[in-house]
Amino acid sequence: MITLDRNDVFSLAPFGQGKSWKRTQFLELMQELTEHHARSCPEYARMLVAANCRAPSFQALEDVPFVPANIFKLLSLASVPPEEVSRTLVSSGTTGGPRSRVMLDQSTAMDQLRALLCTLGVLAGRKSVPVLILDSPNTLADPTDSRVSGRAGGVQGFSMLGKFRSFALDHDLKLDPGAIHAFLERTDGDRYLVYGFTSIIYGHVIEPLLRSSQRFDLAQGILVHGGGWKTLAARNIGDAQFRADVAAVSGLTRIHNYYGMVEQMGSIFLECEQGHLHTSCFSDILFRRPRDFSVCGPGETGIAQVMSVLPRSYPGHSLLTEDEGMLLGEDDCPCGWSGKYFRIFGRLEAADAKGCGDVDGYARAS
């Protein structure tokens, strides 16, 4: 077998790689990454030993060991010396709870951007296009700050991809019609990307516009959005409602949701025109049964395990999420993209917050 150079992945068609590539080349990248992290991150090495996965030789993707994504809330895990960590991504986290801390070095951060660029290129063309960010420039306030939230990380990533960029919201997260009009004038009828955090888009763009008579013509745009779905679910806003509302206020109809996590920034699972989330050449996904973590078949609900070829500075290439979903198929989505396509239903139902340490909320045990 010819060994694939990691860098070659960036020149592939992201949604053009099928089963056979995934089961050989992608698997080999996973093998190499697992060995790299086992060599470089002592805590990760101890986890592998404890799981009896000492000198792994993977026959299939399901053999790749996984760590729970939340482990990054409990431990600071790095596969590079501390002086090479250039930024730390911090998850939004639940209020008051611990936050994930993801250690990035220059090269992993760069790979994340490259992967994002390749993936979005499928929608907007390989050539750099303008980006309208549906967020506030505050998210970029201090680019030298080494601690970045997931939302800011997304905005920064997308805004660096663009030929030029504008922010649709002002510093107070209020719509900035002047900025939007100026952006549209500059694009001059060309295609452009529109990016935002789902909950921010809904709460700060769609809802205010629905309440007013103001409308924008963003019909030339391609909207890519993800994250903060909990806010929408709480308000009972489903995907169809979201799409209809976006179209009503902006004329935007090319809308792609994505699924991704701050622990694997850059390798996003993008929604195709059929409304299915897809793996790319940078990523893969498995669904596992709660009972014993065996792998679910297509159509069977399970816990999502996400894989990414990007994380080199921290052992996050194979993570067990707290999200529930279902594999729909592989390489045969009517949209024409290769790879697995699937659905994510949302977060697993929380366990009762009772424990030694809990009189209602906190508490104790007898």
């Binding site: 030993v49 404890a50 729970p68 482990i71 709660p290 424990g355 030694c356």
Partner: protein, 399 residues
């Protein structure tokens, strides 16, 4: 000073007087007063007559405990015991019936009692309150109507906590540590005292060879299941560590856990999130404690083998069937190293007298309770190292 106003809208009184002034005015009784025993026995009878109670083994267990009240110690010679006055109980939510045991201890000691119930509704709590209300409405128990008040209010309504704290003579706080610290910010009278039950963890000690030759395996396993899985391993007394001694440890382990797996497959419903949380715990231990082994056969019982038991291996255990395991060659050495946090040691295949001697000889810091496997949830008036009746009463010396 009597300004507590449970009449306010956010306080819900389930049992008791409409005004707290009347409860403060109730004089103490002698400890273990026959009238109290009559009340308890009547309450138990009422509970056992409710068909719905049969569906809750823990309420049943409370009722049968109430009928006989085991573990009552007599006052030391030359003394008599009386209540201290008013006891304010902050009940825990992880074991719904706990408030009732706490109340009974307060009554037996001879006190009037105000109990703050857990705010989350639970049918078992309601059943206990309804039956007690019914019994108190009988003319025979009229005298107790002002002496018992069960109420519920949101944790955030701290002025109620503050007022009740100023009224009481003893405050009983069933933790966690966070709750204890929060409640302690409310002053109690100078003469009053707190009886606190802080966060604790528990362990089981099994003699491997005794296990392999035992003929009561099924019964013991059912007991272990009740100890752990009945409250999702959230009771402080539920073992989160399993310690093996003896020779054929590996064989005994294999046998014990595979039998438990079979029982779990029939009886236990695993929440998917619990599978993730348990893996998280195991991996965290693996990452931070060298020579850890994860060796579960399924996610029903997640087991993490550690070289030794320390405070650290109890941190962050999510319950729902999540265990650390280890092996010791000498039990003496085990007792010397068990952390202070260990509350209940449940055992199988060992002689309690031998455990007693080891505890003393090793000058153990941890372990406040030693019971056979299957008995960890049995409430006793000696708890967490406290003689509860003694603490909630005045011992009056008469020469």
């Amino acid at each position: 000073m009597l300004t507590a106003t449970p009449e306010q809208a956010d306080v819900q009184i389930l049992v008791g007087p409409a005004r707290l002034e009347s409860i403060k005015a109730v004089p103490p009784r002698p400890s273990v007063d026959p009238e109290v025993l009559a009340l308890l026995s009547r309450w138990a009878r009422q509970l056992l007559s409710e068909p719905e109670v049969m569906t809750y083994p823990d309420v049943m267990a409370f009722a049968s405990w109430c009928r006989t009240v085991p573990g009552l110690a007599a006052a030391p010679e030359g003394t008599c015991r009386m209540g201290r006055g008013l006891v304010f109980h902050i009940a825990p939510s992880n074991v719904p019936t706990m408030f009732a045991f706490s109340l009974v201890a307060g009554l037996l000691a001879g006190n009037a009692n105000v109990v703050r119930l857990p705010s989350g509704g639970d049918r078992r709590v309601d059943l206990l309150c309804e039956t007690l209300s019914q019994v108190l409405s009988e003319p025979e128990f009229e005298a107790f109507r002002d002496a018992i008040c069960l109420l519920r209010y949101a944790r955030e309504v701290s002025d109620v906590t503050s007022r009740l704290s100023r009224l009481c003579d003893v405050r009983v706080i069933w933790g966690g540590d966070t709750t204890i610290n929060a409640i302690r910010t409310h002053a109690i009278p100078a003469h009053a005292s707190d009886l606190v039950f802080a966060d604790r963890s528990s362990a089981a000690l099994i003699h491997a060879d005794a296990w392999l030759s035992a003929d009561s395996k099924d019964q013991t396993l059912r007991g272990f299941y009740n100890d752990t899985y009945l409250y999702d391993q959230n009771a402080c007394s539920a073992p989160r560590a399993v310690i093996w001694c003896g020779e054929a440890v590996e064989e005994a382990q294999a046998d014990f856990w595979s039998r438990l797996e079979n029982l779990l497959a029939e009886q236990f419903v695993l929440k998917p999130i619990a599978a993730v949380n348990k893996l998280e715990f195991a991996m965290q231990i693996a990452a931070t404690v060298p020579n850890t082994r994860m060796h579960s056969t399924s996610n029903l019982a997640v087991r993490t083998w550690v070289p030794e038991i320390s405070e650290h291996v109890f941190q962050g255990n999510p319950g729902h069937g999540c265990f650390v395991e280890t092996q010791v060659t000498e039990i003496d050495q085990l007792f010397a190293s068990l952390p202070r946090r260990i509350q209940t040691l449940s055992y199988f295949g060992l002689d309690p007298q031998q455990i007693r001697q080891c505890l003393i000889k090793a000058r153990a810091r941890g372990v406040d309770r030693v019971v056979p496997i299957g008995k960890t949830l049995d409430f006793s008036l000696i708890w967490d190292g406290h003689d509860i009746i003694g603490t909630l009463s005045r011992t009056i010396r008469i020469d």
